[in-house]
């Protein structure tokens, strides 16, 4: 089995077998614990519907095997406006087990979010529309794609210029690339944002808005994910003809788990039943995002089954 395929298999197997340590071979095994960052990603989560609770339960189950410490929220965190009741029903209750375990959530704002969320402590926004933070080898940039004005673009450029992290991960609500029929690619946003992402070497961009899962083929060295189905699904909404899709999944709700070491960023997208619908890795040393993915559009794999890896 090729080394790349083996690593991918090991990652999947690690999740399924319940291992908690990184399992990417000798290099990762010898890495200091501080160099490993593991985080989950949810988008358009705040519906309060049964599906959100089921995704949350699947996250909890996954965390027992793959203990992520952070959750990135890709916007539409609380549908229907801000209220204490909404925060309880659409955030605190579904994610209670994770919150009780000390998992920290970092939110970005979607078009259905109220500005009041900026001051909601558990979202860690510190009153700001956009912010950055660092964990281990990863710099995270949370953006407000609802209102990409001069000041935000200037702030982002300054932050990216100063970033010395191995991995740069940006997350925000509106996808620069999407093959979904409901919204699709935000081309206007892409025109102003993408040049900065490319210039400063952002490797991963996570967005929601479209209620599907999609990993795009790398665009100018950036790997884009759409994960907007953590609260509700728009079944069958992924278009087939965009030519952008590496892996798409629009048959169940999803979340992502990502693990970054100094050299490798591994990802898995999982469904409500913890079925792996996509997995792969990005190798930092290659300087170019080399993504090996697996899974098929609309066809989640059963738990316990390793995924086919393209040659």
């Amino acid at each position: 089995m090729p080394r790349a395929s083996l690593r991918n298999f090991v990652f999947v197997a690690t999740v399924l077998a319940g291992a908690s340590a990184s399992a990417y071979g000798p290099r990762a095994a010898s890495a200091d614990a501080t160099t490993l960052v593991r985080f989950a990603v949810i988008g358009d989560s705040g519906t309060g519907l049964k599906g959100q609770y089921e995704v949350a339960a699947a996250m909890e189950a996954t965390r027992s095997r793959l203990p992520f410490e952070l959750v990135l929220m890709l916007g539409d965190n609380l549908y229907g406006g801000w209220s204490r009741k909404a925060a309880v029903e659409r955030f605190e209750r579904p994610y209670k087990a994770l919150l009780d375990a000390g998992v920290q959530f970092y939110a970005s704002l979607g078009n259905h979010d109220d500005a009041e969320e900026r001051s909601y402590g558990p979202f860690h926004m510190s009153g700001e529309r956009y912010y950055a933070f660092t964990r281990g080898n990863v710099d995270f940039f949370a953006l407000d794609s609802n209102y990409m004005d001069r000041s935000q673009l200037g702030w982002l450029e300054q932050k990216l210029q100063g970033s010395r992290a191995r991995w740069k991960v940006a997350f925000f609500h509106h996808p620069l690339y999407s093959s979904a029929g409901r919204h699709g690619s935000e081309t206007d946003l892409r025109r102003v944002l993408e040049p900065l992402l490319i210039q400063y070497g952002v490797q991963v961009v996570l967005s929601g808005h479209d209620h599907v899962y999609e990993r795009l083929t790398p665009q100018h060295g950036v790997t884009y994910f759409v994960c907007g189905s953590s609260g509700q699904l728009r079944r069958g909404n992924l278009g087939k003809g965009s030519g952008l899709t590496a892996i798409g999944f629009d048959q169940d709700q999803t979340f992502i788990v990502i693990e970054a070491t100094a050299e490798i960023l591994q990802f898995q997208a999982l469904s409500r039943t913890n079925a792996v619908v996509d997995s792969g890795r990005i190798n930092w040393s290659a300087r170019v995002s080399t993504v090996i993915g697996s899974g098929e559009r609309g066809a989640a794999q059963r738990p316990g089954v390793s995924l086919p890896v393209p040659p």
Binding site: G80, G81, W82, R84, A87, N111, H112, D113, D114, A115, E116, E117, S119, Y120, G121, R129, S145, N146, Y147, M148, D149, R150, S151, H174, H183, G184, E186, T187, D188, L189, R191, V192, L193
Partner: protein, 192 residues
């Protein structure tokens, strides 16, 4: 309903609010050159932000609840305070006649330059609700994305304010207060 703290600061805020109404429809404003009109607009924005900040400082001084954990929120109290201080606010107080035509022209030209599908995508996301100055942004309504390239062309605003669309109207939204502080009607074409 207004909080006690909001009532207490009305008087001082009224003083700060005066520049927002005085001269809003003055002959000087109508004759302003493009450069002057932007400067005039910036002055109006600055005056509004001064009022906003005055209200914020007073409310914080009164230990108003800044946390989003329940009870009367800071934002609601802030909106009450600003609304009271600007009881006489009318459309055009900030987006004054000297600058309004230019802003409308920028919005319309930006939209016209886009492909039809892109135009429709922008318009489709705009909530269709009636708009009045001093109303709060409708609770639970989504915020339509203001196209980034249009934002780069419009006169810059202070962080406290944003350009947004509601219905066919361009509004100035006080982000912290969730308050519509001014508007330009018929900025957008009718959504097909």
């Amino acid at each position: 309903m207004c909080s006690k703290s909001a009532r207490r600061i009305v008087l001082s805020c009224m003083i700060l609010a005066a520049p927002l109404t005085l001269g809003a429809r003055s002959p000087v404003a109508r004759r302003a050159s493009p450069v002057d009109s932007v400067a005039l607009f910036e002055d109006r924005v600055a005056a509004y932000v001064a009022l906003h900040n005055q209200c914020v400082r007073r409310l914080r001084g009164d230990d108003a609840d800044r946390d989003s954990s329940g009870g009367p929120t800071f934002r609601q109290t802030l909106a009450d305070s600003i609304r009271l201080a600007r009881q006489g606010a009318r459309p055009g107080d900030i987006l004054c006649p000297a600058v309004a035509p230019r802003i409308l022209q920028l919005v319309r030209a930006d939209l016209a330059a886009r492909e039809r599908l892109e135009q429709e995508a922008i318009l489709a996301e705009v909530p269709q609700v009636p708009v009045r100055v001093n109303d709060c942004y409708p609770a639970g309504a989504p915020l339509a994305t203001t196209p980034p390239r249009l934002l780069l062309r419009l006169p810059p605003l202070a962080p406290e304010l944003q350009y947004r669309f509601l219905g066919r109207t361009l509004i100035l939204l006080d982000v912290d207060a969730g308050l519509i502080v001014d508007l330009l009607q018929d900025a957008l074409p009718r959504h097909p």
